[in-house]
Symmetry: C2
Subunit: 433 residues, 2 copies
């Protein structure tokens, strides 16, 4: 009794809301809930919304075939997340229970990681051998399903070492009795399975490829990457740069439920609160000066805003340049020097504009001079740190965009306030009316 209303209720709830109820239930209730969720096809999405601990407890209570059903409905990415949280023995048992193609894909993702050539490739690429004739190969190509979109055939020796490629056009144009060995082209662009996916995308773009063979450490064919998957990588990695520069979690999008958005953004906002407190601390050192000459507080938002804007310009240029492979990290000293120079020159020019505007407003030549000096220093700092931070993160093998905008803004805030309020304090006797 009461089971049907419960079903109806569940089917109306958002998976994120169901997930919040799970920790409140007894093991028996969880088991029953999950049976219902599987029937309602809500299990996969609910599992995705569960936090690590709660998820592990649920997975322990589910039978293997129930977990298999869930894995079948998850995206490859989420399925790998789930499999990684299980002990190796159960993981292998579950993989054995999946259909072969899905199991191979997930095994590759588990072995090479999702952001690599190995995680991106289709391991099911048909193998052709050097001694096959054109006629026999054409016959095989005809029987392979069209959806394989086989416009390049990978030709290998008996030990599965990749020898070269034959295009479908070459095959169609060649005499039927010739062997693949005689018509193959040995100049093939390949990648190792552990190559990061951003590098894979750069290779595709440089050579205008449609598909590319992936080889293992011994030069054996491991699979092939198709251009449509590379398209997704290019888009995803650009979105990631954008998100990281804005301190957003890559899992958020416009469809994310508000409660989850709040949770995903809050950590970054709290970090920003902490670093902004550093800027506030710098200002607090100059309270006496501000008390004597309050107009300084009026110009503080300009100092902070301009430094932040100039820092973001440099930072964005650097992050994108590094991502697109425009940046030779051995020449990073030159690049940082150039960006600092650009910051200095723009500081000088906008400082001039700011100084003149302040002169018209406040009619205090000393204040204008201080603003010009502080603005120049501020934008020089912005150029320097905007260029340094992503390079330093990259050299520490971290993502050059991750958290970098908070670093840079803190540097420009601190540098800007120090130079503006510090100089003002030194010149206070002639500054204050």
């Amino acid at each position: 009794p009461g089971e049907r209303p419960a079903r109806r209720l569940l089917s109306r709830l958002h998976p994120a809301d169901i997930a919040e109820l799970v920790p409140l239930l007894t093991p028996d209730e969880v088991a029953e809930l999950w049976r219902t969720l599987l029937e309602l096809r809500l299990a996969a999405r609910t599992l995705r919304e569960l936090d690590g601990d709660a998820r592990e407890r649920v997975l322990e209570q589910l039978a293997d075939e129930q977990v298999s059903t869930v894995i079948g409905r998850l995206s490859a990415h989420d399925a790998v997340d789930l499999l990684e949280s299980l002990d190796p023995e159960r993981r292998q048992r579950l993989l054995d229970g999946l259909d072969a193609a899905r199991a191979a894909q997930l095994s590759n993702l588990l072995r090479y990681g999702p952001a690599t050539a190995g995680g991106l490739m289709d391991p099911e690429v048909p193998r052709f051998f050097a001694d096959e004739t054109v006629a026999a190969t054409l016959e095989r190509v005809r029987t392979l399903a069209e959806e394989r979109r086989l416009f390049y055939l990978y030709v290998m020796d008996e030990r599965e070492h990749l020898l070269g490629i034959v295009s479908l056009w070459q095959l169609v144009s060649a005499a039927p009795e010739r062997r693949l060995r005689e018509i193959l082209s040995g100049e093939v662009v390949t990648v190792r399975a552990d190559t990061p996916q951003e590098e894979v995308a750069q290779v595709f773009q440089r050579y205008d490829l449609l598909m590319m063979p992936v080889v293992d450490a011994d030069g054996r064919l491991a699979g092939a990457i198709h251009v449509d998957d590379v398209l997704d990588v290019v888009e995803a990695s650009a979105t990631e740069d954008l998100y990281r520069l804005a301190n957003l979690d890559v899992h958020e999008d416009l469809a994310t439920a508000p409660a989850r958005s709040v949770r995903l953004r809050l950590p970054w906002l709290l970090i920003n609160l902490a670093t902004a407190s550093l800027a506030a601390f710098v200002v607090s050192l100059f309270q006496e000066t501000i008390a004597k000459y309050v107009i300084l507080a009026v110009f503080m938002p300009i100092v902070a805003g301009m430094g932040g804007n100039a820092g973001t310009q440099t930072l964005t240029l650097m992050v994108r340049g590094i991502a697109l492979g425009e940046m030779d990290l051995r020449r990073s000293g030159v690049v940082i020097a150039r960006q600092t120079l650009v910051g200095f020159m723009n500081g000088l020019l906008t400082g001039l504009a700011l100084g003149l505007a302040a002169l018209a407003w406040e009619r205090n030549a000393v204040l204008s001079g201080v603003l010009m000096f502080a603005q120049t220093l501020n934008l020089t700092v912005a150029g320097f740190f905007g260029a340094l931070v992503p390079v330093a993160l990259k050299q520490m093998r971290l993502d050059p965009a991750l958290g970098s905008s908070i670093f840079v803004t803190t540097a420009t805030d601190v540098g800007g306030f120090l130079s503006f309020l510090g100089t003002s304090t030194l010149l206070l006797s002639i500054l204050s009316p």
Copy 2:
């Protein structure tokens, strides 16, 4: 005499530096300079660096064949820029002088604009007719150069209306005497030539396409778009979003000369200076309050920094969501309401953290209360404007990212300072010790 040293000097100068000399020369000197630059293969790059007026004057003095040589060395994009600055008659004369493929490409770019399917397509796609036999078609496919990478054949009727496609696999598997009409597949995804390139990229991704036919307004085949060009579009449009959010000109990259970087960034910095002055003006309204209670100035950077960060988070999410087609503009009211709600909740939570930290520091419960209130309002404003500005720009048919970060930062600065300093002024009698 002296000609050889001049040549040597020119070959060492950067094209951007040569361009700066051009306005200083007499017409005769310009003509001679250009002869030398053409020999040194520096003419195209120098022309690219010239500003509009100077460029027009140079072009007037050059003979048609000299301009043709330059066009041959420019990228398609720059060549179109150049052609557009000429009068229609000379433009047509120059196009007639180019080789046919290049002329067709540039004509399309001129007609449809570079950011459309028409500008992106290869107009030279081979045409196949419905009554041709498989055998005859295979013969033609063999003679077409492999670099055409013809894996889909476009089949049309006598009036060049697209009827369907035949894949190379179908062709290889079909009986030689059958006609294309009998084996073609009529379900073809096509785009009109005036479709924006971002939409083209979305269609490629949705259907995992390798190439797609482009049709004109009458349904006649106009050309085909290849996936490698779409890859460039996806990357370029992501970079553009990133650049516009950071107020960078899309023509800048890490290789840009410092002087040009300064020139490209300066306009945005000056706009930012103007809008930051608005925030400064708001602060100036509360000088009396700050003079009486200077600690308010200490918390100003936190108010501004948090609002800016939260606004950028929302803005970035919106811009990317709109670019990726996640956003239904008819439902924009709901999205704006949700983002405002997220801002409100994060404002409440970070306001609590800020209030408690301030209480520990200043031991003033009223100040803490004011900070909590102002922070909540600040992040609500950030959520609202971060969502509203890109939607409004999009509905005005402008780029949703263009200048939006400056708008949003101004809104959060003004809103944050108004609420923080305004409330402080109202409560000054109980706030100030």
